[in-house]
Amino acid sequence: MSTQRPETITGAQILVRLLERQGVRTVAGIPGGAILPVYDALSKSTIHHVLARHEQGGGFMAQGMARATGVPAVCMASSGPGATNLLTAIADAKLDSIPLVAITGQVPKPMIGTDAFQEVDTYGLSIPITKHNFLVGSADELLAVIPRAFRIAASGRPGPVLVDIPKDVQNQLVEVSEWPAPGVADQIAAPDADLIASAAAMINSASRPILYLGGGVVHSGAAEAAVALAEKAGLPTVMTLMALGAMPVDHALSLGMLGMHGARCTNLALDECDLLVAVGARFDDRATGKVAGFCPQAKIIHIDIDPSELDKIKTAHVGIAGDVRTVLELLQPAIASPQRQPWLERVAHLKTEHPLRMPGIDDPRTPYGLIRAVASCLDDEATITTDVGQHQMWVAQAYPLRRPRQWLTSGGLGTMGFGMPAAIGAALAEPQRTVVCFSGDGSILMNVQELVTAAEENVNVKIVLMNNSSLGLVFQQQTLFYGERIYASKFKGMPDFIRVAEGFGVPAIDLDKESDPLAALSAALSSRGPMLIHASIAMHEQVLPMVPPGAANKEMIGG
């Protein structure tokens, strides 16, 4: 607590002051009746408020800030529909463990429970999709709740926290003489030394080990430690969708992404391994396929900051609860640089025999070719976001991701509409970077209104719109698993996306009409400010290989 001259201020002013003291520079949101006192206080603050055009867009902008930096970010909405519109972005943050503080206005306390105008049970609705939530009962409480919200969001396994503040609490005058310290992440208990010794012994004695990195490696800042361990212990390394960038994809030990759309060599190597070292990964079904068929011969070491992840899906032979970076750094000195030549040769053989096939990689008018062409115009400083669908998987497979936090994608919830507002948030948090959002013609329309926010904020966001006139992944599944009965996945009407973007104030180019698409792409990506880059791709293009839903990972189709 810091003591100052007592002042009598409102709950709303307390909130804004606490956000400033917390170091918050940018918030995204939309005002409405029940949060107007907060906005009135915000108007006198140095905090930059980004006016989203839909609360979900505001939520994803905050997510973009948080994913790019690792620091809790703030979104705001009014009561009722404002709050319900935020829920998808909050649920998305929960599943991907993103630190978010969502602040919602609520009807005045005496009106709660009366079905008042724009009243909804925000607290009740948000329980299952937040790490924790608060309904604030008095302005005084804010002094404890707000730092605590930031502490909870950032501590241990990060996640979203919602703070619902009734309007009368925002207006309540109280005397404040002491200000609390900003909320920071709790210290994490040191991991069990005996378990680390056991894990090291298992790694040293394994013949065919694989390192399996998840999003927790990125959250914990453990990418360097993970690469160092892999190098010292000679561990071929697979990454989940969330971990891409933790180890550069072109690292000799990298097997890239595992799972439903992983390369054949990756899933086949996992099928042969005798030890799986899972780090900050949660054995998600898209990564494991049928669990019984996942690494069937392997013993498992599972390292995670969240004890409830240990033994949740697969029982670990050694389960270590702790900060994964700390654990990896403690493990490394106990590794005996074992000889792995036969296994590394076997993995190299699998990579040669069953590589990721990327047809059209040299033709910018194909999905893989377009992605590689974009990458060739950028360096590792660029941030890449995606929406959800085929384009997301193609980018995950083909983009040369080499930096943790370079890659922002909706993994667990798989939310179409994530990419563009998340890119806006990332660009606001790190304005020096070029932020590229790969999207599809299905996804882009789910938060297309944020184009005007991109124009208004003049963010350096380039949207690469891969247009196949369909919900591509649905089309692909209907083709492969529903007897080619294509239903409700082909769009009959198609907006003119160039005019849509321009109508929102965002310049746009159409690669279809460029005689030299590479040159046009290069010019577009080197300009500053927002731009939409439209490129048609063929509807029949598929993401391959593919593990059929419910099948074991070695039962891949295509690729």
């Binding site: 009740g124 329980i127 924790h132 939530n133 969240d306 004890p307 409830s308 949740k312």
Partner: protein
């Protein structure tokens, strides 16, 4: 309760969970919600404030299946849950209440 007969019910392994929690309006929702959204039936529940009233104790009677370990870990993660203790079905907290349920 479901449609199992009394005999069948008694044959199921039971566990009693004892939770120390902060005493405020949302805690019950947080705890019970964890069970209900996994379709994990809570057979019996008992809550009363302890000490000064800043804290409460929640007693839960649950079926002991293979998910219980995971349930306990999830309960332990809740911000307002301070401690979780696990007892066998022989714990008498609910047994002594039976006279109010005849």
């Amino acid at each position: 309760m479901n449609s199992l007969t009394t005999t069948e019910n008694q044959a199921l392994a039971r566990a009693v969970l004892e939770l120390d929690v902060n005493n405020h309006a949302g805690v019950m929702s947080h705890v019970v919600g964890l069970f209900s959204r996994r379709a994990y039936n809570v057979e019996a529940i008992l809550v009363m404030p302890v000490g000064s009233g800043a804290m409460s104790r929640i007693w839960l009677l649950v079926n002991e299946d293979e998910r219980l370990e995971q349930m306990v870990k999830q309960v332990e993660k809740l911000e307002d849950v301070l401690a979780v203790r696990r007892h066998g079905a022989e714990h008498e907290v609910f047994v002594r209440l039976e006279e109010f349920f005849v």
